[in-house]
Symmetry: C2
Subunit: 258 residues, 2 copies
């Protein structure tokens, strides 16, 4: 696993600092072919960030585009401030699609969708990508969140945001569990504030995981998912593709089930 | 709802064809500030595509990065071939993160994650974005898929890929249902081929929905989700954030439930 500095990358593609000969400048519209994946991939390199700043930034970005946007824009925005392109040219507005588990469908939590996208942008190797993503996802499932407290919270939210264990990576389950514990409604301002703080938590966690990977301290093995020993890949049944917490939805498993 | 041609956009930001004065060329790394969302958003415009070509392209792209990558690269790649930048500069490799419902977690189906991302890239208005996304998502839940047949399928797959109704936008449920009907294993080559063809279906459907929107023929209302009249926004309980098919997971609802 090698990681290059921005200078290495620019140097490798023969670019002197300040000169404008990025691929984006070499062609006019009609005669441009789509760049090879590998060419573009070399331009997107992670460099370590301060997760406390990421968390604060995610809290601020949330207002512009909610959960997925907040996490993605907080991380890529920090890199853009530090290094400029290509980070500054990412069409961040796209990431508004993930709010409420994608347009309020309640599927994958938008904070996790963004976290996985950021990891996908920087971590080329498939197994490494899965390990880092799982580190964030499993932590989200099992940890009482949010515990981020903004420096200057609105007076009505100084005490009113309880932390709950989501038990699922799905927005619908995560929100429902929080509503049950907090007594708040799913479309209340308090629930929005909960997701705003959760965005800060996941943005910071993603940066922590990427920082450790950058320093090559990351785990190289995924935590095993017990049910998959029979239901998953190479299991006797092999009828399931999932790493999610099974019993959150499968509540009717009999006592006789292994 | 106004839609601009590429020429309008370039003209609006004062760019003569062929001249390299895109924002990416104006600054060197250290002094570049992140571009304003609105500036970048004006550069990303949809123009109509042939869904048959998109489907074929998704089938080919699948080999490079699986489901989410296939759908996203098929659509953005077509636009890049036709118009060059900014489409040709999107870091497509990022989209490999969504395969298997994000690194085999079985959450949101990668084909739908890509479809929603593409819609998010081009459709600025939040309600319109939700309507178009829901059109693809509900269709995926309710339609027997895949029905795409590649022009030149591998001999072992000429007849062996049954179409099933996913009843869910989640990869895990969608794959499990298909395994049950087909008798195939979750990590079998036949299941991979099923997801490859599904990628073609969803890529083509996304283009059909965007083409209709471009022609302003799209529906402006989302199909109501019955359970949400009590459980959703402004319902008596308001304890749920979801548009997903409820009864796929909530199988234990008693007959006395309204």
């Amino acid at each position: 696993m090698t990681k290059s500095t921005r200078r290495d990358v620019l140097s490798a593609i023969g670019i002197a600092a300040g000169a404008c000969v990025l691929p984006s400048c070499l062609n006019t519209a009609k005669d441009t072919q789509i760049a090879d994946d590998t060419d573009l991939q070399t331009q997107w390199k992670y460099s370590k960030l301060d997760p406390n700043i990421t968390a604060q930034r995610a809290y601020a970005e949330f207002e512009k585009g909610h959960c997925m946007y907040a996490v993605f824009a907080a991380i890529i925005g920090q890199l853009a401030d530090e290094h400029g392109e290509p980070y500054s040219q990412f069409p961040l507005h796209m990431m508004k699609y993930g709010s409420g588990g994608v347009s309020k469908w309640g599927s994958l939590c938008g904070t996790l969708n963004a976290s996985a996208a950021v990891i996908g942008l920087f971590v080329e190797e498939k197994t490494e990508r899965a390990v880092l993503t799982s580190e964030v996802f499993r932590w989200y499932e099992e940890t009482a969140l949010p515990d981020y407290v903004p420096a200057d919270p609105a007076p009505e939210f100084t005490l009113a945001i309880p932390a709950t264990t989501a038990e699922s990576v799905l927005c619908h389950v995560s929100v429902s569990n929080w509503c049950k514990v907090s007594g708040q409604k799913a479309f209340s301002p308090a629930r929005t504030e909960r997701c705003r703080r959760l965005s800060s938590n996941i943005a910071a966690k993603t940066v922590q995981v990427l920082n450790a990977w950058y320093d090559s301290k990351s785990q190289t093995q995924q935590k095993p998912q017990t049910c998959n020993s029979c239901h998953g890949k190479a299991g006797a049944l092999e009828n399931t593709l999932s790493q999610m917490n099974c019993t959150t939805c499968h509540t009717d498993i009999s006592d006789e089930h292994p």
